[in-house]
């Protein structure tokens, strides 16, 4: 993990309060693994408010056109409050603190392709941010990813074209029916799992608590593994403040408060107590 002061290369308004932030940070880009995040200081100046940094998944890495070497981080920011709003106001050339990459990544092993044929990526809204690097890695491991992507309305399904460009199968849902099926994303997922009926499959979910909980329950029903990307308010991301916990069970099956920044953000859905939300 590195503590860098990085420059904004570009910031793009994706609509519906979503922004795509590109940060110059070769070292962090080289280190990052799917599911990991960076803690961003949302303004210039470490002692300027908001004081606490905010956690953001690395959506993608920026590559140098010529050499193809990692050059930067691509971050999807949804403006939901003080810090994310400040981020959305940054201009190219501004420099902010970026701490990371950090956190437990998705578990992708070289041996996977033998055991695994497919992987369902389940995203709700900005949860999509944690799944793009994963999709690319799975493909590299000869695992076929399918995307189930839901939101309130069409405009919420940002960056879906990135996944389409990967040529993978996509299922979209919106609560208002403005794109794909009307309803919530776990419905087509459940349908697919019923039809699929094989265990050469894994679920990866990132989104609102309720959506991940439903995905976890589907995984249980079908006896397959599910990894989720958890959210919690974070004070430090260093395992120091103990602020980011969720209730769950440790390796020994002992009931514990687990730190999302250390034992997560990616956890096996079975280790999470889905009855007590951290918000």
């Amino acid at each position: 993990m590195l503590d860098k002061n990085v420059r904004v290369k570009e910031i793009q308004d994706l609509g519906a309060g979503n922004y795509l932030l590109t940060l110059r940070s070769p070292e962090q880009a080289r280190l990052v693994r799917p599911g990991q995040f960076v803690m961003l200081k949302c303004v210039e100046g470490l002692n300027e408010p908001p004081l606490l940094r905010r956690p953001f998944s690395v959506f993608d890495t920026l590559l140098q056109p010529r050499t193809g070497r990692p050059a930067g981080l691509v971050i999807l920011v949804k403006d939901v409050g003080t810090g994310s709003h400040k981020l959305s106001q940054l201009r190219p050339g501004d420099a902010i603190g970026s701490l990371g990459p950090q956190g437990r990544p998705f578990q992708i092993s070289a041996g996977m392709k033998n055991r695994l044929g497919m992987a369902c990526l389940v995203a709700g809204g900005v949860g999509i941010a944690a799944l793009y690097l994963l999709a690319r890695d799975l493909i590299a491991q000869n695992v076929r990813p399918l995307l189930f992507y839901g939101g309130r309305t069409a405009a919420d399904l940002v960056l879906r074209e990135c996944f389409e460009r990967l040529g993978i199968e996509t299922h979209y849902t919106t609560e208002d029916g403005s794109l794909g099926e009307r309803g919530i994303v776990t419905v087509p997922l459940e349908e697919f799992l019923r039809g699929h009926r094989r265990s050469d499959l894994r679920l990866y979910a990132c989104g609102p608590w309720g959506m991940m909980k439903a995905t976890h329950q589907a995984a249980l029903r079908h006896g397959i593994t599910c990894e989720v990307s958890l959210e919690a308010r974070m004070g430090c991301s260093l395992g120091a403040c103990m602020g980011c916990v969720i209730h769950g069970w440790d390796q020994n099956g002992e009931e514990q408060y687990l730190r999302v920044c250390q034992e997560g953000p990616i956890m096996n859905s079975r280790t999470v107590d889905w009855e007590t939300s951290p918000f």
Partner: protein, 316 residues
């Protein structure tokens, strides 16, 4: 900047070392309990040997699971926390964390917590015989545990009692007592703890605060109230340190909202013999090292040869 470099009398290399309860700190900058974990978590982000000491997360004899989330939220120039003393317990700390920490050239101070008097004494007794510990810091002021701490910081006599008992329980180690700001007169507690045998006082812990999510009409913290920390409380901490310094002879260690060299200087000038950096570690992991360097520059550029020329130098 190793300690030797600092302590030589060479011109323009100011002397930053201070003595607290018979223990030498290479400089007066420490990290505050609960904001620096067990130190090692920060080893790759700063040089742990560059600061005078590390006060580790509050430790109890047995592990404590802590409070349900959400446990923190940000406020204007500060944050609220209600962690509930989650910690790995004394035995795991000694066996898993301390050995790694001891590799660094800095002092390790262990902050101890408990739900009742016996809890404090049990862990104090246990730590008394552990090598590699520079001092104990008695946290009788944590606002975030229902039963815990609180009675100790409502009545100076209770504070004196736990101090005297803890001192007996760990005779080998200097005992620091960390005072609560949630009192009418911090001086009464400062005096009481000094009389009871405290070797130093850490002033202050967090102020009890609260925040509400107006959309859900629910407290932002599951525990409802939490401890307020960060720059917002600095003026209060500074005032209490100044008050405490005027009534006790033992060293007072300033804590509360320190995030820059200037902040640290305010506390030293007010009379603090050392300072602890807390919440700032969260948003600037190298803050304590930067402040230690900053103090050296401040002294150097002003021909101040010894930090003691600054400590308590407030003129009015």
């Amino acid at each position: 900047m190793g300690p030797k470099a600092i302590t030589t009398g060479v011109r323009n290399v100011p002397q930053l070392a201070v003595d607290i309860g018979g223990v030498r700190f290479k400089n007066p900058v420490l990290t505050a309990s609960g904001t620096f974990a067990y130190g090692l978590e920060f080893a790759h982000l700063m040089d742990l040997s560059s600061i005078g000491g590390i006060v580790v997360k509050g430790i109890s004899m047995k592990p404590i699971k802590g409070n349900p989330p959400p446990r923190i939220c940000e406020t204007a120039s500060g944050m609220l926390n209600a962690i509930g003393w989650q910690n790995i317990g004394a035995v795991e700390f000694i066996t898993k964390k301390l050995p790694g920490l001891r590799k660094y050239d800095t002092n390790i101070v262990v902050n101890i917590v408990g739900f009742d008097l016996e809890d404090y004494l049990e862990v104090a007794r246990f730590l008394n015989d552990c090598p590699g510990i520079a001092a104990l810091e008695l946290n009788i002021s944590c606002p975030n545990v229902k039963k815990g701490g609180f009675h100790f910081n409502k009545d100076p006599r209770d504070a004196a009692h736990v101090t005297a008992q803890a001192k007996k329980a760990s005779p080998r180690l200097p005992l620091w007592v960390k005072l609560s700001p949630n009192v009418t007169d911090v001086r009464e507690f400062a005096r009481a703890c000094e009389d009871a045998g405290a070797d130093a006082l850490s002033v202050i812990n967090t102020l009890v605060g609260m925040a509400i999510d107006v959309e859900r009409r629910r407290p932002k913290l599951r525990y409802v109230t939490g401890g307020l920390s960060g720059p917002a409380i600095k003026p209060i901490a500074l005032r209490m340190v100044w008050e405490a310094c005027k009534v006790v002879k033992i060293p007072v260690i300033g804590v509360g909202g320190i995030s820059t060299t200037e902040d640290a200087l305010e506390f030293l000038i007010a009379g603090a013999k050392a300072v602890q950096v807390g919440t700032a570690n969260f948003y600037n992991p190298a803050a304590s090292q930067q402040i230690a360097l900053g103090l050296q520059d401040y002294c150097g550029s002003r021909r101040i040869e010894d930090i003691h020329e600054i400590i308590g130098s407030l003129s009015s």
